[in-house]
């Protein structure tokens, strides 16, 4: 990326280096003057990454805003506000604060860089597995009968008293697979939600969804969803014709 080859990790880095080049204290810096340098530098950069370009441009806009504010006569409305409220956002002060904080970590990064130069060149042997223990340690070691009872009680307390009634008359998935294929053969295209909308019982819904997944897995139909959360369209594949209904599930 072009920006990194220029050596700046971001807009704050660039701004800070421009300020330091002039050997001025951050708090004393004339933002108007720096804004010109910054814009000149940014306009000479080549942009390959649009997101990164945006970040540099946001900073350019901030600098221009500060510059313009400094040039304009004092805003009476703002001054009145300042008289009432303690805190009026001051973009210049905010920017200086960010620069000061950023500089601490940029300088820390330089310290880490010098550690990296040494530490990263200490080599270890490439990992090679040690012999694995032949006998596994006793997984029950140190566990008493009381612990097991307690674990059981903890686990059982989170289970509802009675299991919900599970009906036995399931709708076979194969039946629903046939239903989907028949409908598709007739219409050529079928919306999943539309199709499911006709199903009343929960069991039927579940079997239908499973049937559709099974058909997709077997390559009998294809499914596509043009938009997130949108309708899922099912289409018959060429395989779907001929003997599709007789395979075991």
């Amino acid at each position: 990326m072009k920006v990194d080859t220029e050596g700046f990790s971001g807009p704050l880095d660039l701004l800070l280096s421009l300020i330091e080049k002039k050997q001025i204290d951050i708090c004393e810096v004339s933002i108007s003057e720096i804004a010109d340098d910054y814009l000149e530098q940014v306009s000479s950069m080549e942009w390959l990454d649009i997101d990164q370009a945006a970040e540099f441009l946001i900073m350019a806009a901030t600098l221009l805003y500060i510059k313009v504010r400094a040039l304009l006569p004092p805003d009476e409305a703002l001054e009145e506000l300042a008289a009432v409220a303690e805190e009026v956002p001051d973009p210049r002060a905010e920017l200086v604060e960010r620069l000061v904080e950023y500089r601490r970590y940029r300088d820390a990064a330089r310290l880490l860089r010098s550690l990296e130069a040494v530490g990263s060149r200490m080599y270890t042997r490439p990992p090679r597995p040690l012999p694995t223990p032949a006998v596994r340690a006793n997984p029950m070691e140190g566990i008493s009968g009381h612990d097991i009872l307690q674990a059981y009680l903890d686990a059982s307390s989170s289970i509802p008293e009675e299991f919900p009634y599970l009906p036995t008359d399931e709708i076979p998935i194969a039946t629903q697979m046939v239903a989907v294929l028949v409908r598709l053969a007739r219409r050529g295209k079928l919306g999943l939600f539309e199709f499911l909308g006709g199903e009343r019982s929960r069991h039927l819904l579940v079997s239908t969804v499973l049937a559709v997944l099974e058909l997709v897995r077997r390559g009998r139909i294809s499914a596509s969803q043009p938009a997130p959360f949108g309708e899922i369209w099912m289409f018959p594949t060429s395989q779907a014709t001929g003997g599709a209904f007789n395979e075991p599930t």
């Binding site: 990194d4 050596g7 700046f8 990790s9 971001g10 807009p11 704050l12 880095d13 204290d25 951050i26 708090c27 997101d51 990164q52 970040e55 900073m59 200086v96 960010r98 000061v100 904080e101 950023y102 500089r103 601490r104 970590y105 940029r106 300088d107 820390a108 990064a109 310290l111 880490l112 860089r113 550690l115 990296e116 130069a117 040494v118 530490g119 990263s120 060149r121 200490m122 080599y123 270890t124 042997r125 490439p126 990992p127 090679r128 040690l130």
Partner: protein, 160 residues
């Protein structure tokens, strides 16, 4: 120590050589002292109280000549900046890192995670439960530090 290519705790070593931990720690110091001079090509590094044999940095060029592989590229400016924020402020969220740097740190975080230098260490109990990042033992080894307290002090903000 030579056979293991990862840091071994004093406890592990003590169990292996069947000596109590205090004696093991003393023995480890002896070995460390013996290899403290430049004439030794290896060092016994202490990483968070675990020990590993490593080559002495001064001898790196020879090892690099020997190895067909290139030495790993140093971290990019953006990545090492991100790493320094995580190292000094951990645990820290992506949002806090981005705010300090003034740019998105997504790709740096991905690189650092991939190289094992940082890891997710939990989630903050605030809106969105953002992931918290911290440095790993691999990070200490990468910089040749025994523990986080050996990090150089964070530069002061002299202008404030």
């Amino acid at each position: 120590m030579f056979a293991a290519s990862f840091p071994l705790s004093v406890k592990d070593i003590a169990a292996a050589i069947q000596v109590d931990e205090d004696t093991t720690a003393k023995l480890l110091r002896t070995v460390q002292d013996r290899h403290s001079g430049k004439e030794s090509g290896i060092v016994l590094s202490d990483v968070e109280g675990s020990f590993i044999l490593m080559s002495r940095p001064e001898y790196a060029p020879f090892i690099e000549n020997l190895s067909a592989r290139q030495r790993p590229a140093p971290l990019s400016p953006a990545s090492i900046e991100t790493l320094s924020i995580i190292a000094y402020r951990q645990p820290v969220t992506r949002g806090e890192i981005d705010r300090i740097r003034g740019v998105s740190s997504d790709s740096s975080i991905a690189t650092l995670t991939e190289r094992g230098l940082i890891a997710e260490v939990g989630r903050r109990n605030s809106v969105g439960r953002p992931v918290l990042y911290g440095t790993t033992r691999e990070f200490l080894m990468y910089l040749g530090l025994a523990s986080l307290s050996d990090l150089p002090p964070l530069p002061e903000s002299e202008d404030q």
